[in-house]
């Protein structure tokens, strides 16, 4: 067993367990902290896949910025206790279980149906090349300059929109 497989199993299991723990905790602060753990182990998975830039961006943007934002709002609103899943209406419950089972079956079916194609042959040298900041930056500012600018405008619009929505009513 190579070190890569060991790391993959370690991070993958942390990822799965923390995701399940996150949706089962009644306390929103706890589930936010489990989501941080999930994002950090996901960054580890990205590193084993040779995506250094995205792994660092994952830790900074998700585990840092977005989750601090979530925790801030949770602390600000201090929400009340919510009803447990099994105390809710029976019809709604059956509907939820049906949808979840459908999606799970679809994903598992696709994974087991697909056989390894000849296109996806691992070329380690090339894969290490693609994940570097240099390579991503070059590609982003040449072929993908238009989506990049659009993302910038989107972030600006979102900032202004969030400010307008969250501030108090003005005369």
């Amino acid at each position: 067993m190579t070190i890569e497989i060991v790391l993959f199993i370690l991070f993958g299991s942390i990822c799965a367990v923390s995701a399940v723990l996150m949706i089962t905790r009644p306390n929103p602060v706890l589930s936010a902290l489990f989501l941080v753990l999930n994002f950090c182990s996901l960054a580890g998975l990205y590193l084993t896949l040779n995506a250094q830039f995205i792994a660092v961006a994952q830790v900074i943007v998700y585990a840092g910025a977005i989750m601090v934002f979530f925790l801030f709002v949770i602390m600000l609103l201090n929400p009340e206790k919510e009803k447990r899943f099994f105390e809710q209406k029976a019809k709604l419950r059956i509907f939820i279980i049906a949808i979840v089972a459908l999606v799970l079956v679809q994903i598992v079916y696709i994974i087991f149906l697909s056989r390894p194609s000849e296109v996806i042959t691992r070329e380690v040298a090339r894969s290490v090349e693609t994940g570097t900041v240099e390579n991503i930056g070059r590609e982003m500012f040449t072929n993908y300059i238009l989506p990049f600018e659009a993302a910038g405008y989107l972030l600006l619009a979102a900032t202004i929109g969030a400010l307008v929505l969250a501030k108090k009513k003005f005369e």
Binding site: I23, L35, Q58, Y62, P79, V119, E123, I136, E139
Partner: protein, 87 residues
């Protein structure tokens, strides 16, 4: 992980937790993109993940602002009690 996210969205009644589950689903899609990008040696997948991240950040900011606005009006974040869009 995507399925866990869907379970979370559908079962939890707290709007903030529902938002966190949506982030979880976005991340599972990101993981797939990164995996294929790595195995195919193609940089496009990682760029897509970068754009998904920026859109997710924008979405989280606007969504939480909406939640704060709703909380100010209704004093709840329970999505069963928020029915002001009903006519």
């Amino acid at each position: 992980m995507f399925t866990v996210g869907i379970v979370g969205v559908l079962t939890r009644r707290n709007a903030i937790v529902v938002f966190m589950c949506i982030e979880l689903m976005l991340n599972s899609a990101n993981l797939t993109l990164i995996t294929y990008s790595s195995y195919l040696g193609d940089v496009a997948g990682q760029l897509f993940v970068f754009f998904v991240m920026s859109v997710a950040a924008a979405e989280a900011a606007v969504g939480l602002a909406i939640i704060i606005a709703i909380y100010r009006n209704k004093l709840t974040v329970n999505i069963d009690e928020i029915n002001i869009l009903k006519w």
